[in-house]
C-alpha cells in the first residue's frame, strides 16, 4: 500500500520529489508514489468567487483513487475554497482516503515578496503531511506539531514538518491496524 501524490497539471512549480517522499516516509513510514495527471476541474469553479470548490474536487479524486492507495493527496495551483470560508490551503476527508492541497496561497509572490522556491517546497510538504494526517484520522493538535491548525502562511512557517510524539503514536497504531486488516 502506498501514499499517492497526484500533481494536477498544469502545475507551475517544479517539485522536489525526493524531499517530499523522504518527509512523508519519516512521518508515516509508508512509501510514496508521485504521479502527474491532467484533470478538468472546471466543474468545481465558482465564477463569482473566482475560486475552486475543494469539497467538489475531493469527490473527483475519490473516483480515480488507485486500489493500492492508503491515501491520495491532489496537488494544485488553483485557489481553493469551501463555501463557508473565504479560502483554504487544502482540505481532506477526516479518516478518509483523499485530500487536496493548493500552492496558490503558499507562494511568497502572492504577498508581494520575491519568489522563494525553497520556502514554497517546505510549506507544501507541511500542508501535504497535515492533510494526510486528517486522512489517517488525526484532529488538529495544540502541540508543536505539523497537525497544528494554520490559517495564515506565517502559521505554516512556524510549525514543524513533523508529527509530535502523540500524533506519531496514533499514526503508527492506525497504520498497523490498516495493515492487519489488509493481511487478514
Amino acid at each position: 500500500m502506498y501514499i499517492y501524490i497526484l500533481i494536477i497539471s498544469p502545475f507551475s512549480y517544479k517539485l522536489n520529489e525526493e524531499s517530499l517522499c523522504e518527509i512523508i516516509y519519516k512521518n508515516f513510514n509508508v512509501s510514496t508514489i508521485i504521479k502527474e495527471q491532467k484533470i478538468d476541474l472546471s466543474f468545481s469553479y465558482d465564477p463569482v468567487r473566482n475560486q475552486y470548490n475543494s469539497s467538489k474536487i475531493l469527490y473527483k479524486l475519490l473516483e480515480i483513487l488507485p486500489q493500492d492507495a492508503l491515501s491520495l493527496i491532489g496537488l494544485t495551483d488553483l485557489d481553493l475554497f469551501i463555501p463557508i470560508f473565504t479560502y483554504v490551503f487544502g482540505e481532506a476527508q477526516l479518516d478518509g482516503k483523499v485530500g487536496i492541497v493548493s500552492i496558490h496561497r503558499l507562494k511568497d509572490e502572492l504577498y508581494g515578496l520575491p519568489e522563494n522556491p525553497y520556502k514554497l517546497q517546505e510549506r507544501m510538504e507541511k500542508e501535504i503531511i497535515h492533510e494526510l494526517g486528517h486522512n489517517f484520522g488525526l484532529f488538529h493538535c495544540e502541540n508543536y506539531c505539523v497537525m497544528r491548525a494554520s490559517n495564515y502562511m506565517e502559521e505554516i512557517d512556524l510549525k514543524p514538518p513533523y508529527l509530535c510524539k502523540y500524533c506519531k503514536e496514533f499514526i503508527y497504531e492506525k497504520i498497523k491496524k490498516i495493515n492487519r486488516n489488509i493481511k487478514g
Partner: protein, 444 residues
C-alpha cells in the same frame, strides 16, 4: 477542548457539511440542524456549548431562533452567521445576546479565534455558576445543622420566608446561630448576589450606633476626618442584619424607623437624602414585647421588624442534634487544621450530651475546636473536653444521688468521724446513721 459540543444550524447543506468537517477536524463534537425547529428539538434533548445560527432560514429565521435559545438557556453561546449582513440585524443579534456576528464567507482564522474566545467565555460562565452553587450550598447548610423537630421547623420557616422580601426577627439565646440563619435567608433570597451586612448594635456605645448605621460626612463630629459610608448604605440592594436590636438607643430606633418607612436616609452631618433598598433582618436574645412594655423599645419599630419571627431553639432543647453538630464541626476543623479526627469516644459523647450548653451551638463549636487542638487523632476523648463540662455532669443527677455522694465526701474528709461529719452536714448523728444505712454507706 475535545469535549466541546457545537451545533450548526443552516438551511444550506453545503454550509452544514463545510462547518461539520471543519469543526470535526478541530476535534469538536459537531451536530447539524437544517432549520430552527430541528435545532430547538436537539437543544431540548442534549446540552451544547456553542450554536452557530444562520439568519436567513425558512419557517423561522435565525434571530427568532436566537431569542428562543436564550429562553431555554441564557448562558448558551450563540454565534450568528449571515450572507446578507446589515447593521440592523447585527444590532438586533447582539442586543438579544448573540456572542458574535459573522459574515459569509468567513475568514477561517477569524472563525477559529471566535470559537476559542467563545469556549473561554463559556468555561468562565460555567465555572461562575458552579462556584455560586457551591457558595449557596455552603451557606444553606452551615449553621443549620440538625434533624430534630425544632430545627426542622426553623429550616421550614427559613425556606418559606427567604424568597419574600419581608423583614425577619430572629429570636434566640446567645450562640444559637442567629447570624447564620440570617445569612442563610440572605443566600436563599433574590438579593444573594448583593451584600450581606451585619452589625452588632449591642457592641457599640450609644453615640456610635448612628454613625455606624448611617455613616457620616467629613467634619460631622470630632474625629470624623473622612466621609464614611454607613452599614445601611453598604447594604444597598442586599440584606442588613442588626444583631442585639433590643440594645438600640431610642434616638437610633426613631431614625431607623424613618428609613424603613421612606427608604431614604441622610448621612450624619449631610444634607443630601440617599435612596436605599435593603431587606432588614433583626435578631435579639431578649423578649422584645417585654422591652416595649418597659418603654425600652418603640412599639412602632417592633411592629415593623416583627413581621416574620423565627424562634431558634437553645441547644439543650435539641440535644438529639449534638452528634450531628459534633461531626459537622469535626469535619470543618479537620479541613482548617489539616487533621483527621473521625469522631468522639462514647465517654466524650456522653459528657457532651449531659452538659446543659448555656452558650449553645457556639459553645459546642468552641469545645470541639479546642478538643481538636489538645487531643490526639482519631477520636476526641473526655480528657480533651473542658473540665467544667465534666463537673457539671457529675453534679447532674437525682437529689438522693447527690446527697449520697456529698455524705461520702464529708465522711472521707473527716476520716469517718461521725460527730464531725454530722456537725459539718448540720444534721444530728442519728439522722446521719439513718442516711448511711439508707444509701448503704460503710467505712472502706
Amino acid at each position: 477542548m475535545r469535549n466541546i459540543k457545537i451545533l450548526v444550524v443552516d438551511d444550506e447543506k453545503i454550509v452544514r457539511e463545510s462547518l461539520y468537517n471543519w469543526f470535526s477536524q478541530e476535534g469538536y463534537i459537531v451536530r447539524t440542524a437544517s432549520d430552527a425547529y430541528e435545532a430547538l428539538k436537539i437543544l431540548q434533548e442534549e446540552v451544547y456549548h456553542i450554536v452557530l445560527v444562520d439568519i436567513k432560514m425558512p419557517r423561522m429565521d435565525g434571530l427568532t431562533l436566537l431569542k428562543k435559545i436564550k429562553e431555554i438557556d441564557e448562558n448558551l453561546v450563540v454565534i450568528i452567521i449571515t450572507a446578507y449582513p446589515s447593521v440592523d440585524s447585527a444590532v438586533d443579534a447582539l442586543k438579544h445576546g448573540a456572542f458574535d456576528y459573522l459574515v459569509k464567507p468567513i475568514d477561517p482564522d477569524q472563525l477559529n479565534h471566535i470559537i476559542r474566545n467563545a469556549i473561554s467565555q463559556k468555561m468562565l460562565i460555567d465555572e461562575n455558576i458552579r462556584l455560586k452553587r457551591e457558595l449557596e450550598r455552603v451557606y444553606e447548610i452551615e449553621g443549620i445543622v440538625g434533624e430534630s423537630l425544632p430545627i426542622k421547623e426553623v429550616i421550614k420557616l427559613v425556606k418559606q420566608v427567604a424568597p419574600t422580601d419581608v423583614p425577619v426577627l430572629i429570636i434566640g439565646e446567645s450562640g444559637t446561630g442567629k447570624e447564620l440563619v440570617a445569612r442563610a435567608i440572605h443566600m436563599m433570597s433574590k438579593r444573594k448576589y448583593f451584600p450581606f451586612v451585619a452589625i452588632n448594635i449591642g457592641a457599640l456605645p450609644e453615640g456610635l450606633q448612628e454613625s455606624e448605621l448611617f455613616g457620616h460626612e467629613k467634619g460631622a463630629f470630632t474625629g470624623a476626618i473622612y466621609r464614611r459610608k454607613g452599614k445601611i448604605e453598604i447594604a444597598d440592594g442586599g440584606t442588613l442584619f442588626i444583631d442585639e436590636v433590643a440594645t438600640m438607643s431610642i434616638k437610633t430606633q426613631i431614625d431607623l424607623l424613618r428609613v424603613l418607612e421612606t427608604k431614604r436616609f441622610t448621612r450624619i452631618g449631610g444634607n443630601t437624602e440617599i435612596e436605599v433598598d435593603f431587606r432588614l433582618i433583626c435578631a435579639t436574645n431578649k423578649d422584645l414585647e417585654e422591652e416595649v412594655k418597659k418603654g425600652n423599645f418603640r412599639e412602632d419599630l417592633f411592629f415593623r421588624i416583627n413581621v416574620f419571627p423565627i424562634k431558634l431553639p437553645p441547644l439543650r432543647e435539641r440535644k438529639s442534634d449534638i452528634p450531628l453538630l459534633v461531626m459537622h464541626f469535626i469535619e470543618k476543623y479537620n479541613k482548617k487544621m489539616n487533621k483527621n479526627f473521625k469522631g468522639v469516644t462514647d465517654e466524650a459523647m456522653e459528657i457532651l450530651q449531659k452538659y446543659n450548653w448555656p452558650g449553645n451551638v457556639r459553645e459546642l463549636e468552641n469545645a470541639i475546636e479546642r478538643a481538636m487542638v489538645v487531643g490526639k487523632e482519631p477520636l476526641i476523648t473526655g480528657e480533651d473536653l473542658p473540665i467544667k463540662f465534666k463537673e457539671e455532669v457529675e453534679e447532674i443527677g437525682s437529689l438522693e444521688e447527690i446527697e449520697k455522694k456529698h455524705i461520702l465526701k464529708v465522711l472521707k474528709k473527716t476520716n469517718w468521724n461521725i460527730s464531725q461529719a454530722s456537725e459539718i452536714l448540720k444534721i444530728d448523728r442519728k439522722t446521719l446513721y439513718n442516711k448511711m444505712k439508707k444509701y448503704g454507706i460503710v467505712k472502706e
